[in-house]
């Protein structure tokens, strides 16, 4: 099984639209424990991605995702800009020259993305960041693929893992990012970055489903 370039483009479009729908929600989550811009930041970035896509959708997957990375880096700002930018940068590197990706390639490449986020942000699991949704989601996907699931089945596990991770951030005290300044007061609120990561994973599953 494999995933085509066209599906990758559809995934990116799906992200843009789910972020648009959840812009205010993400911003409200950020207002509670951050600075009320997460939805606005990502929306600005993915809208820009939408305008860039037509220029690159004929190129290879690596080039497409490199453009996504650069667009996010130059347009999102904040903490999530360099983090999601780095995520897509690492993903793109592994996809250089490809017109489609096998399930195993996709798993590797998402894992490379997560590694990039960790290197850039220095967060650990449980620090109440996007990593708490993204990392289990990617792990669950890779594991399911290893065990022979289809991409769609694996993605469904992945979405479940992301959702659990996202919800678990509610109880956590933030150790990285702006929310960490709140200390104990950050507990009781869901992390906006974990939420957007969940939405991004979910968008992939919906695209392929």
């Amino acid at each position: 099984m494999s995933i085509t370039k066209k599906q990758i483009v559809q995934w990116l479009q799906a992200i843009a639209s789910v972020i648009e729908q959840n812009k205010d929600y993400l911003t409200e989550l950020d207002a509670a424990i951050g600075d009320a811009d997460h939805g606005i930041n990502l929306h600005r970035g993915f809208q820009k991605v939408l305008t860039q896509l037509p220029k690159v959708e004929d190129k290879d997957i690596g080039s497409i995702l490199k453009t996504v990375s650069m667009t996010l880096i130059s347009n999102v700002g904040g903490a999530s800009g360099p983090l999601y930018g780095t995520f897509f940068l690492r993903v793109s590197t592994e996809a250089t020259g490809k017109e489609e990706l096998t399930d195993t390639e996709l798993a590797h490449l998402l894992q490379a993305g997560v590694t990039g986020v960790v290197q850039r942000g220095k967060a650990n699991l449980g620090d109440k960041t996007m990593l708490d949704a993204l990392s289990p989601a990617v792990d669950a996907f890779a594991e399911a693929i290893t065990q022979g699931s289809t991409i769609v089945e694996a993605l469904s596990k992945s979405v479940q893992a992301a959702e659990i991770g996202m919800k678990e951030t509610i109880a956590l005290v933030a150790k990285k990012g702006r929310a960490s300044y709140l200390g104990e007061r950050s507990a009781g609120h869901q992390d906006p970055g974990a939420t957007s990561s969940y939405l991004i994973v979910q968008a992939l599953w919906e695209t392929l489903n």
Binding site: D37, R44, I73, G77, G81
Partner: protein, 357 residues
């Protein structure tokens, strides 16, 4: 939301356009990517100073671009770190070849975007160092967290390093000086009201008529503790004592190692203030607090410093690092030595800070 704005999406651009026409003798503004820069750059043989951060903190940083202070400032969206392409393009414009010092407030977003920017500039053959400012004593533990935020000391570091760059300090000396300012400066802030980011269109947080937020940052984020409103003297005492009685503070910060050509973690320790120290006292408005109230805070601060044996030898009072229209204030104390005093007094000519010329 009541503001003197047009469309929220145009806030930053229009504000920059106004600034550009208002101060065309001192600065120019580049759009897409956005940065403000001195009209006379590159200044030959001078290390170029760049800073930046989210908008909404005006006059920080754009108001501090000019002779004796910054070469360029990169404004992000409201309360959102700028993006690396802004810093990269600014660097290209202001670089004289003597190197670039980026002064970065310690927020995850700012740190990561400036790191990316430095990597890009390095890859284009520029010499770049990033120095982080993390002076906010409201953030207590640093071991497993992001550590302290960069607040009031940033203004002082930009002024002092700007003067030093003008006097010919070379890149490493300047980075060292900036680090010195950072470890000698401590701040803490308090909010009487929240603020409304234009794109959000509503208040960041709700405060009761008799409540205040103690230990806030500069992004309208809630503080460490909510508490009942108190008198100016009591508030000043809480802020000043948090600063003066702050113990030695140890943290690791990431800096670029020019020899190793990689990011390294270095341990940095602030030593506490002690009797006899000479200090600069900086009372800052969060934007909506009038000058008359800042003087009431300053009055009590001066009394406390005297009791604690700290000698205020320089002062700065006004709205310099703000959170939109938030009411409240922050106090910064910076321990000075002869070198820092000389650099503080050196001429400066920017839209927001000007003396000696």
């Amino acid at each position: 939301m009541k503001k003197l704005i047009n469309h929220p999406d145009d806030f930053v651009r229009e504000s920059l356009e106004g600034m550009a026409v208002a101060h065309s003798d001192l600065i120019k503004v580049h759009f897409e990517p956005n940065f403000i820069y001195r009209t006379d750059v590159p200044v030959p043989n001078k290390v170029a100073l760049i800073s930046g951060g989210g908008s909404g903190h005006e006059p920080l940083h754009g108001g501090f671009v000019g002779m004796g202070m910054l070469d360029a400032a990169c404004p992000g969206e409201i309360f959102t770190s700028p993006t690396p392409d802004q810093m990269l393009e600014a660097a290209k414009v202001v670089s004289s070849g003597a190197g670039i010092l980026n002064i970065v407030k310690n927020y995850s977003g700012d740190v990561m975007n400036f790191e990316l920017a430095a990597e890009l500039a390095l890859s284009e053959g520029m010499r770049v160092l990033n120095i982080l400012i993390d002076d906010d004593v409201a953030v207590q533990d640093s071991l497993y967290t992001q550590g302290r935020r960069g607040v009031g000391t940033t203004v002082l570091a930009e002024k002092i390093c700007g003067a030093a760059a003008e006097r010919g300090y070379e890149l490493k000396q300047l980075a060292h000086l900036c680090r010195q300012v950072n470890i000698n400066g401590r701040s803490m802030g308090i909010a009487l009201t929240s603020c409304t980011p234009p794109a959000k269109g509503s208040l960041m947080f709700e405060l009761g008529e008799k409540e205040i937020e103690m230990g806030i940052g500069i992004h309208g984020e809630p503080g460490r503790k909510r508490m009942p409103l108190r008198s100016a003297d009591e508030i000043t005492e809480m802020l000043a004592l948090s600063i003066i009685e702050d113990a030695a503070y140890t943290r690791t910060l990431r800096e670029w190692d020019e020899e190793k050509e990689e990011w390294v973690e270095i341990e940095i320790i602030d030593l506490p203030f002690k009797k006899g120290d000479r200090v600069l006292a900086f009372v800052n408005s969060m934007g909506g607090t009038p000058l008359s109230e800042l003087y009431i805070i300053y009055r009590k601060l001066a009394q406390i410093c005297e009791q604690k044996g700290l000698q205020i030898v320089r002062s700065l009072i006004g709205p310099y690092i703000t959170s939109l229209e938030m009411q409240g204030c922050s106090i910064t104390l910076l321990k000075l030595n002869d070198e820092l005093i000389k650099l503080w007094d050196a001429p400066v000519k920017t839209p927001a800070l000007r003396w000696g010329i």
